[in-house]
Symmetry: C2
Subunit: 418 residues, 2 copies
Amino acid sequence: MELSQFGEKLTSKTGILQLMDDLGKAMSGKEKMYMLGGGNPAHITQMEELFRKRMQEILDNKDEFERMVGNYTTSQGDIDFIHAVVAFFKKTYGWNITTKNVCALTGGQTTFFFLFNMLAGKFSDGSSKKILFPLVPEYIGYADQGITDDIFTANKPIIKIIDEHTFKYFIDFESLKITKDIAAICVSRPTNPTGNVVTDEEVHKLLDLAKKHKIPLMIDNAYGAPFPGIIFTKTNPILDDNIIYVVSLSKLGLPSVRTSIVIAKEEIIKHLTSINAIVNLTATTIGQHIVTPLLQSGEITKLSQTVIKPFYQRKSNEAIAYLQKHMNQSNPYYIHKSEGALFLWLWLKDLPIKSMELYERLKKRKVLVVPGNYFYPGFRGKWKHRDECVRITYSQREEDVKAGLKIIAETINEAYNK
Amino acid sequence: MELSQFGEKLTSKTGILQLMDDLGKAMSGKEKMYMLGGGNPAHITQMEELFRKRMQEILDNKDEFERMVGNYTTSQGDIDFIHAVVAFFKKTYGWNITTKNVCALTGGQTTFFFLFNMLAGKFSDGSSKKILFPLVPEYIGYADQGITDDIFTANKPIIKIIDEHTFKYFIDFESLKITKDIAAICVSRPTNPTGNVVTDEEVHKLLDLAKKHKIPLMIDNAYGAPFPGIIFTKTNPILDDNIIYVVSLSKLGLPSVRTSIVIAKEEIIKHLTSINAIVNLTATTIGQHIVTPLLQSGEITKLSQTVIKPFYQRKSNEAIAYLQKHMNQSNPYYIHKSEGALFLWLWLKDLPIKSMELYERLKKRKVLVVPGNYFYPGFRGKWKHRDECVRITYSQREEDVKAGLKIIAETINEAYNK
């Protein structure tokens, strides 16, 4: 079957789809696998109880359930939800926004597909523009989202060694060039896969660059503040006409309601709403209804701070301690400073085998991770580091995480010794 | 702000978005409007009670609610749902399909966006292909879905007068040419906006053409058989390697769960699943969970036949009778034979004003309809008929429909008299 360029681009078995196939096949086998590869948020009892209570409230609140599933909203989102988002961000951060600055879409993945392709790619004057990731590694899910080729470019970070087995990435502003073909800058914060949190200072520098070049700065806040709050450093989120702020309900524990929120200047929201009307008609409403009163009461911030964040911080600490215990300390391995998100990012400096080979060996031993080389959307340079990292999810059940980590450590120790 | 071609194309204020803006503004005023313009399905008590019961069952069924909102499914859909769909269509129509022939996506709108752009548009060899609508008027929501220009082409139908004030469209197979640049054929059945049901004979002829030219035939079954069953003629849905069959949960009364089902050959499902992974990650799961046991028990067909279909058939009959009563019978107006969907399609032959002007006059009198000229995606010819039709929704509350229809009839009678 012949496919259009769009069809070819979005179905070609480049990295991610191939990897997903491979992971899918491994998972569908009969043997137990330790799934430390995926991004599914944990099932946190207190959050689950709350969502269950909310759905019961919706059922018990006159015709709210019938309106929720039975009425189309506008392409901007449910009007009560939009109002609740505005009031919440005004109150939480003092942001001076109105309902014209907010829309609800079908999840972060969809949102970035819209944003990337609306701002970058081919232009009608024949020129092309790119989205710049000022720091890679970045989210694997961005990599294939361009409907035209070469929609991304990326900058190598600075690596700072923090202690014997810990490091952190920083944006290399010296090498960061905003050329004329850069349509926008994008960072996930905290970063999937590394758990890095770009500092407030770095964000301000990026914003200055964005302003100077009159381009937007997109901040993917899927794990960040104020909710779900899986961010272990202190940050002060800022809003500006040049910032496009994307929030998601997924990591609260609601990935399958597929709901994201965009906060940006009116023009951006208008464009996204138009695209949403044409591509999706409207967003699904269930997540919006579940969360609206939690925004109105501010409970969502409290839960993020007192339930979600401590949960993941504890999981992260335990995973690091357990991994360190089993790793041969004389090897030059480094764990990225865990500042947020659901992952440990392991840099295996000078490992004799590439991360793809490590992935294969681990798969044979029933542990699934994601090889690090996939997390470089738009990066074209050669860099040994790219093949020296793996992403490990620590959000799953403790016994599975521990069993998986032990095998990972043993496999790495062996590989260093050969 | 500069936008890419994708951005320009999907945000340009062509017909539909402008109309939606206009309708939105009219609706947001303080005065009561009779909304006979939209496509929201009716709230049918028996269906509402069922969906409410299903959600309560999900809450009461161990951890089903937690799995439903808290676990990502694969990009193909929830595995239990996919199995239920396969078994249902095997049992209902004897279709020889497996789980490899089915996927769940985020609603019909999203599904056709994927299909149209994956099959038509620009190709890497520099050529372009189009989607052919063998019969216009067709669904307004298709019109802007091409990410490149001129992705659609359309054929003028044959008009058959059935009685003094009734007509029906048929496909004009004599003028229907499948040129080399046709990527696929697409029909909605029943058709939004006309309530036309392309006959079984016409479908077979289209399929023969599709097979001969080795292109797919897409059937948009949003209103059709076996569910939601808003189809008043007897049809025998067929499946074939060349047919892409798209079903939706919206018109069961669940528009805001945003769930569609595609049944097609394995290659198509694989491509759609890939595109879904990149654009949306996965579909939302709530609709899939609500409907799974209704598919397993076959209750969904029974409800479609005994509740949904009679409900809309009665509404349609009442609306036609009421409209006829108020229309001046000496005028040469025609109502399309109502064979399904939620709309009356009125052809006002030789009306001295165009349908856009009629729309404006009705808006001033607090009645919203959709002018017919918007329902010609890909049609480039001149045709007076195009400006002589309006779409009227009859799914809303009886008193509103009646009040609106009375004003519509009076306004049309006046316009004919001037």
